[in-house]
Symmetry: C2
Subunit: 437 residues, 2 copies
Amino acid sequence: MKDIKIGLLGFGTVGAGVVEILEKNAALLKNRLGVPLTLAQVADLDISRDRGVSIDPVLLTTEAAQVVENPDIDIVVELIGGYEPARTLVMAALACGKSVVTANKALLARHGEEIYAEADRCGGEIFFEASVGGGIPLITSIKENLGANHFHAILGILNGTCNYILTRMTQNGESFGAVLKDAQEKGFAEADPTFDVEGIDTAHKLAVLIGLCFGSIPDFRNIYVEGISRISSVDIDFARQFGYVIKLLAISKRSENGIEARVHPTMLPEDHPLAAVDGVFNAVEVVGDYVGPVTWIGQGAGRKATASAVVGDILQAARNLRAGVRQRTAPLGYLPAALRALPIIPMDDLMGQFYLRFSVIDRPGVLGRISTILGEKGISIASMIQMKRKADSQVPVVMMTHRTREAAIRAALERIDSDGVNCEPSVLIRIENSDSD
Amino acid sequence: MKDIKIGLLGFGTVGAGVVEILEKNAALLKNRLGVPLTLAQVADLDISRDRGVSIDPVLLTTEAAQVVENPDIDIVVELIGGYEPARTLVMAALACGKSVVTANKALLARHGEEIYAEADRCGGEIFFEASVGGGIPLITSIKENLGANHFHAILGILNGTCNYILTRMTQNGESFGAVLKDAQEKGFAEADPTFDVEGIDTAHKLAVLIGLCFGSIPDFRNIYVEGISRISSVDIDFARQFGYVIKLLAISKRSENGIEARVHPTMLPEDHPLAAVDGVFNAVEVVGDYVGPVTWIGQGAGRKATASAVVGDILQAARNLRAGVRQRTAPLGYLPAALRALPIIPMDDLMGQFYLRFSVIDRPGVLGRISTILGEKGISIASMIQMKRKADSQVPVVMMTHRTREAAIRAALERIDSDGVNCEPSVLIRIENSDSD
């Protein structure tokens, strides 16, 4: 084999990063692999825009199908993103016997089952290290080095935009809206930030991690998703007074009844390893029965870091091709026949501690009403902050509950909100205290 | 292939952990691999002691060579530790065509070159994820997922005993000697703690990481090693006043002139990702040209976590055997022919910031003498703490320098110590401020 040929689908930010690495670090890659990695073809709808990297124009095409069907190409790299045409192209590339590398978490979250099955059917391989945590190397580790473990839990900060916004809100006391606007102006946040700030991107990545850790491909619609757009500086301040920071976390835990699978703003103790992960950095903690907790921290997005992960996958695919082996490791690290559909536990059944904030007119009896309703639902309060009285004006009352069932909390809040005790809808933030929670 | 057969050399703490995982998580491992992993033979000098795991006595032998030569065995796992007989047995296992898994950092630091060459010659494979950072999955990641990067720097907390001692000294103000004694009584520290507390174990692990990141196998004797036995609570307190914590760090950085390779107590800014890694936990940060900084945190030692890494390696070796491939990836991730002997930069040439502590009799002119000597060597002071005067008694004077060359600092301290200004030898602790330092 003289060289290994790469076909690229999507010549955007990350694609340009991949082209740059293949050129700038070509000698290093050859020193690791023994043969050159050659960029053979690049498809994008726009093949005229300058991406700031040098590329022979003859390699460019607007026809992605040409790349997929090109018999010279060994490895197809899908960096288009989204569901279609990415899905059709990935399926076709696998059917053509290519190894596939993708960074597309949305695709895997929605169509993973079909894609992994197609890889198995074709005897092909699909690599997707860049789909979760950008440059952070965790997917191969979960499949290989941590493969001896039954996993108990996954905790992740998986969206740089959300973490950047929450960090600035925490450090500077800015509002969600102000930071988002500034981030959009600076190009850190998308013009339509819904996928990021509403937690959907995080949930896509959690779906991939659940498959890897638990050998169960979740139905994406059953993952609970709540974003950060309703987090206010008030709650960040109160969290700090209790010794917590607020992060958008992806959480999944394995229990006898199935798995929890949820994305929501979460209060983390200040000394938790993920609490100090700020700005655009991502971090993941998994807990295995033998390894205990393992935490990774690194750049979860961006041209260079994501391209690092993509080229790492190309290197792995190429090593397998060089060795004459495909499908050395199944896509999720479990043999297809060993995958199980574990039920996702309903949020109502979640047990945990909760932060509650009520906005009340500070009149005698108001606190008593709230306490009575909580008590009726069997919820006990671990600590409370009531701001000093301002006659007849709105004041926040903040409580941290003991461990309780989410259904009880929701019922109590519904009652309180409909009872007119509250001037504004009450605020609920889940607390994550430890791995054993 | 019906099953894959494992031979174990060394039935100590980690060996018993491996036996336990192979039994307890057998179904999981089969779901990942497709065939069972069967423990075929276990060698130890003591085959009568109860290790708390069930094992068929017929598998036990006192003759390690029997395991190595056993034609039924596919993968030999070396958990004896130390240089000999581990070296001879590993070389023999490779020569017999076995895949080898080892957790032995001392062996790799001293005899790595010979062992990697033998693996290459025999077309065999050697896996050593457990040799650095215990259960933390970083070695495969550096070889595969981060393989697209030129690395700039490695920073590691690699010895749990040292980190445990420094953490207790920091949190409780205890002395080195008191914590060590207690740790020995509790079994956290060895009866002879020299390898741990004097930094040798950390340096062994750094040698392995240097090979992986820089493709250069260092001469172990050229790694600068300084342990923690001379760290006093006084210095930990002053560090805190300047916003730093003291950790025993393994540090290697790549520059045009070669690589830095050093192990020493280091002052880290409190907000550095490694500063919060406490107790027996280990952590490693590498910085690549594309991925930027990546940090791993986890359990760096102990029966269960280390066994997790060993069985992860067994799984990788077995996946290769199942796929009919050996030597898919070279031991260090670089092809043997691409390995380079990079020079290790002498400590005198190190550029950095330094913490200095002098014990002086507080008389007029003393501070002037010290300042004059530092000035003559071109050392400028960034900040200083001088404790309040106690007439004619010994007081500490503490300084943080600007960036300077280590040779200048050493010359100045030698001069100050020999000049009689100082009541006790001056204390020097290196400061690590950022990846770009």
